[in-house]
């Protein structure tokens, strides 16, 4: 059982009369559909309702009077989930938002307005048991390995090899690996790592899957030396990443794209799905 603890601070010049001090914890998954999905799933659109994970209220202080000056009221709030729901990790995405808030209300007599203060708190899921099993990936990119090419003959020849230390990553640890431009007819302009989240909202009627970029990190700038390995290194941004999540209603997954930009506007992308977890 997770506990949320802290203090409520009441301060005022004069003594304050009140009708009780309440704390409310709310947590919900908000699903949103991207504009392009709306047309296709109009029927489905309406059905997307926030999924409440937690909603509970406790009375901290009985009606009475706070003395003038500063008063600190400590609290401990047990985080009790609704029914068989799971306490997901906080996540701010584009189409999926998992957010937890703590609200403190001070009820007052009819004549005075109630006072409210809200603040967000972050939930990190408990570290998974057991060790992370590394899953290294080696890759080779040549004109031949590419899909989605219109005119393969126009492509300059190149050979890029590399490997990722693991596609199973801990969110607190950076993504690492190596990349070697063995040869390339055209000059390299830039090599980038694109971190992408893939959010899926769905139900029985169908689903909407959207991939959006979280961050883009350049690992090579200009025509890099051939045959010399360039490190792949990316720190996962806090708040925007969370352990990979799969539920019946929605999914949050992550992928990394290795993007090689060649002279003459040739853009080569190699995609690697990641599995993030917390250890």
């Amino acid at each position: 059982m997770e506990m949320l603890s802290g203090v409520v601070v009441v301060s005022g010049k004069d003594p304050v009369q009140h009708q009780g001090l309440f704390l409310t914890v709310e947590g919900a998954v908000n699903l949103q559909l991207s504009a392009k999905s709306v047309g296709v799933f109009e029927a489905f659109y309406n059905s997307v309702k926030p999924i409440q994970i937690i909603n509970s209220t406790i009375e901290m202080v009985k009606p009475g009077k706070f003395p003038g000056g500063r008063t600190e009221v400590p609290f401990e709030f047990p985080l009790l989930v609704k029914g068989n729901k799971v306490l997901f990790e906080t996540y701010h995405g584009v189409f999926v938002n998992i957010q937890y808030t703590l609200r403190c209300d001070m009820k007052r007599s009819l004549l005075a307005k109630d006072l409210t203060k809200t603040s967000e708190f972050i939930v990190h899921s408990a570290p998974q048991k057991g060790k992370l099993t590394p899953s290294p990936v080696d890759f080779t990119i040549t004109p031949e390995t590419l899909q989605n090419v219109k005119e393969r003959a126009l492509l300059p020849k190149f050979l890029v090899r590399g490997h990722l230390t693991s596609t199973n990553c801990a969110v607190t640890q950076p993504l690492t690996g190596e990349l070697v431009v063995e040869s390339s007819e055209a000059a390299v302009r830039s090599i980038e790592l694109q971190l992408v989240r893939v959010e899926t909202c769905g139900c029985a009627e169908g689903y909407a899957r959207d991939a959006t970029e979280i961050q883009n990190i350049q690992i090579a700038d200009g025509d890099v030396c051939r045959g010399l390995s360039v490190p792949i290194y990316m720190v996962f941004p806090r708040l925007f990443t969370c352990p990979t999540l799969e539920t019946t209603n929605f999914k949050v997954e992550f992928e990394v794209n290795v993007v090689v930009l060649l002279q003459g506007d040739h853009l080569i992308t190699e995609n690697f799905p990641l599995k993030l977890c917390r250890v």
């Binding site: 990190i217 700038d221 890099v224 390995s229």
Partner: protein, 921 residues
């Protein structure tokens, strides 16, 4: 008023001497004496090594320690500085490249500012509401702009706009990925890393200050455990923010700039971070950008964790791996677009590479250096590497392998890194450390064979300047002459020397620093032709000054070597001729001092006539510098006195004529001087010389000239830039003059004491200050003079000159004349005393009265009643208004009483009785 007669006391000078002199004690050799000259012998001097410190111990032979030598004990601050001169090196980079760029004019400079403008707009972009300046910005403006950014970074930080600060830093470091004006890159690097340093320090200080919160002050080497959570969280936050910077180059630079902050997170932080950053640089494609990034990382690394040598080496080896890129297509295309030659592109690498190499080679073991060198050798087209090896490694290491290096340099291709730079670097090493004895000549021959083939005079002279030191150090004048000849040959066409004065000057300095014997120096045939290359006057004078300074420093023996004299006269003439109306006083003084030093060193031994003709020549050459003329007059006077000494006072006809020639020289030179007291004193001096050499009429002429000059003495004169009253100087001069006049014999055709009379007339007519009693003081001195003149035998004489005492032999007429003069003078004094009987002047009256009393006491014959009465009156006058100093009066009285005990002074006791002391009630 009654006229008081004067009666001089008869003096027995010999007896007086005997009573007042101290007993002499002979001084044993080695005894301590404060006036003995201090001789300091340097007993031990350590060899100067490149990194080490110079120390010298001195001890004095006497018991006196020279205070200056103790300062030199211990470490020499300059060499300590040299050992850790890191920031200086960076500044040098800046100057090197800024300087070269500035020098360029015309279209190139225009192109720069064109590009600079676009970059400035880039800078402006992130500043909200910034107006786009379309000025034609120069490089200096760009520099100023970056400085402004540095300031705005500090301001943003101070006003708590951390995000803005970070933005500024990111934008700045982004500029480092731009190589569009490639020659400006090194300067830009320095400017921008400066900002990065500022930023790094700000972040570090801030986090440190957060830690201070709970542990009053963190110790210097704190461990991460002592860091509190807030500080830690803030620090982590910075790293996360930086890790999400999109572009590689800004991300690298900003992270490197706050490398030090890793200390807050974990002990191993820095040692993990450095290799990662080193690897990260591999992603930078442009080799120039990447080598500077490496240099920055090495710099930061050395600063934060100097013990982590590994990543330094890694940087070096990574650099070698990417070395081939420089000759790759991408770079070549880039250069072609910008129209930059490879030979001017490659030297841009040098500062960064030198830096990296220097970091690695600092205290590195010999075998590491050898290994590095071997690896450089293996790479093709390695001139650039060779150059950095030579600039960064220990000079001794390079010097012992000089021949190897020459071989390698020769093998380098013509197209790449300029060879003259390679030879220059090698030469720099050889200037610091000596190669093996046997190789020396071969090294010079091999190197010079290449240097002499350089076409561009600028390249040539850069090399020659460095190698001149080596040549001067190890070889004789023959080789130096060859080198100088070669330089002349290269620099003369098209007046190429005009652009290279600093280098030529430095060569001259090196040559003269190594040839202390000026006879040898001037026998180097090409030395003077070399000097002729300095055609711009200011530089020429500068060089001449150097030569003269060294001459004065190293020439200990007087010389008459015609080669030296001719050459130095030429040099001095050049210095002298540079003097014009606009020359500063200081400059004139310096020049005159140097020329004087030379004049003093010239001696033809016993050939006095030659010596005099040299002085005549010198006078005609240096007529514009007064101090030189003064020196010449002194020298000639000295020459006359030397002649006298040689002849033991008995001049032959020939020497008498010579001496008169000397005196004549002085007589006609003195009037051309400006300083009035200089002239007066020199007249007196020359007069004395003439007198000593029995040139009586010449002496008279000098004294008359002096006397007739006195009315011209102005009220105030300029002393060291301040206006001061001239009377004290005049008083001093006159006293001096009087003591000479004592022995000047009267001219048979003029009246008795005609010089004294003339002088008195002049004094009488001179307008003295109303508020001073100097005139009366002078009269008292005249009284002393006259009393001395009335003695039977004078106090002193000039050898072989009959003074008035033997001329007149105590003739009563002479004495009567003398006494008449005395009376006149006394009347003047007494009149003046009476005139002082006014309220405001009473103190002066008292003082003057007492001094006159003392004069009478000393020189007058008090057995004379009237004189006796006068002295009693003066005594009363001195005390009348209570201005007399009681102690002085008491002492004076005691003195009189003591004197009266002497056998022939008994009459003084009677006087003493008549002198009452005033009691204060």
């Amino acid at each position: 008023m009654a006229v008081f007669p004067w009666h001089s006391r008869n003096r027995n000078y010999k007896a007086e001497f005997a009573t007042c002199r101290l007993e002499t004690v002979p001084l044993e050799f080695g005894d301590y004496h404060p006036l003995k000259p201090i001789t300091v012998t340097e007993s031990k001097t350590k060899k100067v090594s490149r990194k080490g410190s110079t120390s010298s111990t001195s001890s004095s032979s006497g018991s006196v320690v020279d205070p200056l030598s103790s300062v030199l004990d211990g470490t020499d601050p300059l060499s300590v500085f040299a050992a850790n001169a890191d920031p200086v090196a960076i500044a040098a980079v800046k100057n090197l490249f800024m300087g070269s760029e500035k020098g360029r004019a015309g279209p190139a400079a225009f192109a720069v500012s064109e590009k600079v403008r676009t970059r400035l707009e880039e800078l402006d972009d992130f500043e909200e509401g910034s107006q786009k300046e379309l000025l034609n910005l120069t490089q200096q403006d760009y520099v100023n702009r970056i400085e402004e950014l540095n300031q705005s970074l500090k301001d943003a930080w101070a006003s708590d706009q951390k995000v803005k600060a970070l933005k500024i830093v990111i934008q700045c470091s982004k500029l480092l990925s731009d190589t569009s004006v490639i020659h400006f890159y090194p300067s830009k690097f320095v400017l921008i890393t400066d900002i990065l340093d500022t930023f790094g320090n700000l972040v570090y200080e801030r986090i440190l200050s957060m830690c201070v919160g709970d542990h009053s002050v963190l110790p210097g080497n704190f461990s991460p455990e002592n860091v509190n959570d807030t500080a830690r969280e803030t620090c982590l936050n910075w790293f996360f923010k930086i890790a999400s910077i999109r572009e590689l180059i800004p991300r690298f630079y900003v992270e490197a700039s706050i490398l030090k902050c890793n200390k807050f997170l974990s002990k191993m932080g820095i040692s993990e971070c450095l290799p990662r950053l080193t690897c990260m640089i591999r992603g930078i494609g442009d080799p120039l950008v990447s080598v500077y990034a490496r240099a920055y990382l090495c710099r930061v690394g050395m600063e934060v964790a100097p013990h982590l040598k590994e990543s330094l080496n890694k940087n070096f080896f990574d650099f070698l791996l990417t070395f081939k890129q420089i000759h790759g297509d991408t770079v070549q295309n880039h250069l072609a677009v910008q129209g930059v030659e490879l030979s001017s592109y490659l030297p841009l690498y040098s500062p960064a590479m030198d830096w990296i190499f220097q970091c690695i080679s600092y205290r590195a073991p010999e075998n590491l250096l050898t290994e590095m060198m071997e690896r450089c050798k293996k790479l093709g087209n390695n001139a650039l590497l060779l150059n950095s090896v030579m600039s960064a490694f220990r000079a001794e290491f390079i010097a012992t392998r000089s021949l190897d290096f020459i071989g390698m340099i020769k093998e380098c291709s013509e197209a790449g890194f300029p060879k003259h730079l390679l030879f220059r670097s090698l030469g720099l090493n050889l200037a610091l450390a000596d190669p093996p004895e046997g190789d020396r000549l071969q090294i010079l021959n091999e190197a010079w064979r290449v240097i002499t083939k350089l076409k561009n005079p600028q390249d040539y002279i850069d090399c020659a300047e460095v190698w001149a030191e080596y040549t001067c150090r190890h070889f004789t004048k023959r080789e130096v002459n060859t080198v100088l000849a070669d330089i002349i040959k290269h620099m003369t066409p098209d007046r190429a020397f005009e652009d290279s004065y600093p280098q030529l000057q430095s060569i001259i300095k090196k040559v003269i620093a190594h040839f202390h014997d000026f006879a040898v120096l001037f026998s180097v045939e090409k030395f003077l032709p070399f000097l002729d290359m300095f055609q711009k006057e200011s530089v020429r004078v500068e060089v001449c000054k150097c030569i003269m300074e060294l001459f004065i420093k190293h020439q200990h023996e007087p010389t008459k070597d015609p080669v030296i004299l001719n050459a130095l006269l030429h040099v001095c003439k050049t210095m002298h001729d540079s003097v014009n109306a606009l020359t500063l006083e200081d400059e004139k003084r310096t020049l005159a001092c140097l020329i004087n030093g030379f004049v003093k060193m010239v001696s033809f031994g016993r050939d006095f006539e030659q010596q005099l003709s040299f002085y005549v020549e010198a006078r005609s050459m240096f007529c514009n510098l007064e101090p030189v003329l003064v020196q010449l007059i002194h020298s000639v006077s000295r020459l006359a006195m030397e002649t006298r000494k040689v002849m033991k006072g008995n001049h032959s006809r020939k020497t008498a004529a010579f001496v008169r020639a000397c005196v004549a020289y002085c007589f006609i030179t003195i009037p051309s001087l400006v300083g009035i007291f200089t002239r007066l004193n020199l007249y007196l001096l020359a007069g004395q010389v003439a007198l000593a050499n029995q040139c009586l009429s010449q002496a008279d002429a000098f004294f008359k000239a002096a006397i007739s000059l006195i009315p011209e003495v102005p009220k105030t004169i300029n002393v060291d830039g301040k206006m001061r009253p001239s009377e004290p100087f005049l008083l001093e001069f006159l006293c001096n003059f009087f003591s000479t006049l004592l022995i000047v014999p009267d001219h048979p055709e003029h009246g008795v004491l005609f010089l004294v009379r003339e002088l008195l007339n002049v004094i009488q007519d001179y307008t003295w200050e109303d508020t001073s009693d100097d005139k009366i003081r002078i009269y008292t001195y005249v009284l002393h003079l006259l009393s001395a003149m009335s003695q039977e035998t004078y106090l002193y004489h000039v050898d072989k000159v009959d003074s008035n005492d033997s001329l007149y032999g105590g003739d009563s007429k002479f004495l009567a004349e003398n006494n008449k003069l005395c009376e006149m003078v006394m009347t003047q004094i007494l009149e003046h005393l009476r005139a002082l009987a006014k309220d405001e002047a009473l103190k002066r009256q008292s003082l003057l009265g007492l001094s006159f009393f003392n004069s009478i006491l000393a020189h007058g014959d008090l057995r004379n009643n009237r004189l006796n009465q006068l002295s009693v009156n003066l005594w009363h006058l001195a005390q009348r208004h209570g201005y007399a100093d009681t102690r002085t009066m008491v002492k004076t009285l005691e003195y009189i009483k003591k004197r009266s005990e002497q056998p022939d002074m008994t009459h003084l006791s009677e006087l003493a009785l008549r002198l009452p002391l005033q009691t204060r009630t």
